[in-house]
């Protein structure tokens, strides 16, 4: 090595790794793996995205959103033409994302007055909205009844509430009944709707059928989230279909739909699941067959009910990426390498349960060492990942995390740091900002400072002088 000789050699941070059992390959050398590299998202260079819109940055790809929806919808439509698709707002209610799903033909599935207002503000008519959730404020129910939204009943109290509102408006409320049940999956989701096995759902259905203020149209269930068991959907479809027929038989009314909810997994890695998502996650065709075969068998001698679905995660997770950068590095006392990133658990709510794939924006070689990724929060809990094998990284190196399209941009926290911009890579390759990076005015917009506490810089200076004298 000579100081006078200029070199173009790629620089990698120096590192030494103590070799132990797990790090040996079968031939005795240190295991040589590499971290996957991603240089583009939706055909746009990662470097360009970060340079133009900053880091951290959430990136969604329109082509992937549309392709995911079409492939899922085609599978169900082919097996069961009478299928209606709802888009689960809570999974990602950015306006641009919802608008794409509506353009693809999805109606809205909302779970609060806020989400209801968002759907209406996007121009969706009330009768294209399914209103779910355990708490629907009175004014939201009034609006939903007036606008002929389909309201899914969560409790007996809600039946009374809806009857009262409908009577006062002299209108008929369109409702369905949410049913929970044992599908052999633990934990059983029993807190939403009324239970099948105990007869509560049937009793509530009879109450709905008797009501003059209510138009009882169908049944709804949603058996869980990231459901890896196809069999659970067969059981759910059998139970809800049998309840459907029993209600019709006992009350004489005609129901017209069964809403099987969502819960279909994405290709994310659920913590605690040993197998890779490609192996552990069944295909959407398997779920579709389980549901539609059961319905077709149960309703073989009569007209099929409409099937409604409310998928979220399965449709959007893989369309979302998070670009984050190394802002500093250090050695922990146990000689592990630690990196501080500009994105942490404030942006990655789902990292509690899921482990995304970590990719680098360029090849850094195959010398991998144990690394811990910390977020930017001044909080000890802000650990993005504590068991990664990474090559030594320099400050400024970018990591790309995916899939992160589901729930993160709705459940992220406004805490310590500004939330980053969110961009959408369009079909044309153009990149549109669909949510600006937060700023002080946006974060403090709803705060009010009492006049007597509103001290100017001048008054702080005067206070300082008074103290000094």
């Amino acid at each position: 090595m000579s100081p006078s000789k200029k070199s173009v050699k790629k620089y990698t941070k120096p590192s030494i790794l103590k070799l132990g059992g797990p790090l040996y390959a079968k031939h005795g050398a240190a295991s040589k793996n590499s971290v996957p590299v991603r240089t583009e998202i939706g055909r746009v260079p990662v470097a360009q995205l970060a340079a133009e819109f900053g880091s951290p940055l959430f990136v969604f790809v329109e082509d992937t959103i549309r392709a995911n929806f079409r492939s899922y919808a085609n599978v169900f439509k082919r097996l069961y033409p009478k299928t209606v698709f709802g888009w689960s707002y809570k999974t990602n209610y950015l306006k641009a994302v919802c608008a794409i799903f509506h353009e693809e033909g999805a109606i809205a599935e909302v779970v609060s007055d806020f989400e209801y207002e968002k759907a209406r503000a996007l121009g969706l008519p009330g009768d294209q909205i399914i209103f779910n959730g355990p708490y629907k404020p009175k004014n939201a129910l009034q609006r939903a009844i007036k606008e002929k939204a389909l309201i899914h009943i969560d409790s007996i109290d809600e039946i009374f509430e809806i009857e009262n509102i409908a009577n006062s408006l002299d209108l008929e409320a369109r409702v369905g009944l949410r049913v929970n049940m044992n599908t052999g999956v633990y934990p059983q989701w029993s807190r939403f709707g009324l239970n099948f096995e105990t007869g509560q759902a049937l009793a509530a259905a009879k109450q709905l059928a008797r009501s003059k203020a209510i138009k009882f149209e169908g049944l709804h269930c949603h058996i869980g989230t990231f459901m890896l068991s196809v069999e659970a959907y067969t059981i759910a479809a059998e139970k809800i279909a049998s309840l459907f027929l029993e209600i019709e038989r006992e009350t004489g009314i005609t129901l017209n739909y069964i809403d099987m909810g969502g819960g279909f997994p994405s290709k994310n890695h659920l913590k605690g699941v040993y197998q890779a998502p490609e192996v552990a996650v069944p295909s959407i065709s398997e779920y579709a067959s389980a549901i539609t075969d059961t319905l077709k068998a149960t309703f073989s001698d009569r007209e099929l009910p409409t099937l409604i679905l409310e998928a979220g995660r399965h449709l959007i997770d893989e369309a979302g990426f998070l670009i984050t950068s190394v802002v500093s590095r250090k050695l922990l006392p146990d000689a592990r390498r630690a990196y501080v990133l500009d994105a942490g658990v404030n942006l990655l709510y789902t990292s509690t349960w899921y482990r995304p794939t970590f990719e680098l924006d360029g090849d850094e070689g195959s010398f991998l060492e144990p690394a811990v990724l910390f977020g930017p929060l001044c909080m000890n809990i802000d650990v993005v990942d504590s068991h990664l094998m990474l090559p030594p990284l320099r400050v400024g190196k970018r990591l790309i995390l995916s899939p992160v399209g589901a729930y993160n941009v709705t459940q992220w926290m406004q805490f310590i740091q500004y939330s980053p911009a969110v961009v959408l890579v369009r079909k044309t390759g153009v990149v549109d900002v669909i949510r600006e990076r937060e700023n002080l005015a946006a974060v403090e917009g709803l705060e009010r400072l009492p006049a007597d506490l509103n001290q100017t810089e001048k008054s702080f200076q005067a206070q300082k002088i008074r103290k000094a004298s």
């Binding site: 070199s7 620089y11 990698t12 120096p14 590192s15 070799l19």
Partner: protein
């Protein structure tokens, strides 16, 4: 002192390193191999950093920080 200790290490061209004093084995990446070679030759921390900066075209600030950190790693692993 550091030089004497490092000279006891046996290394090969692939970055494999054996410490006969403890029986431990290590793997060095390419930059670490270069640094270790210079330190074994008796270069000071500052001289090694200057060479690193020149050889890889990085800032002296980064080279110094990385050299310091590498020596820290050697200490944490019981080598230096």
């Amino acid at each position: 002192m550091l030089q004497n200790r490092l000279q006891q290490l046996a290394t090969n061209d692939d970055g494999f390193c054996f410490d006969p004093r403890t029986g431990e084995t290590y793997q060095l990446n390419e930059t670490a191999q270069v640094l270790l070679m210079e330190l074994k030759r008796g270069r000071s921390e500052s001289e090694a950093a200057t060479l690193l900066a020149a050889d890889f075209g990085i800032s002296i600030h980064e080279a110094e920080a990385d050299t310091q950190e590498f020596i820290q790693l050697l200490k944490m692993n019981g080598i230096a």
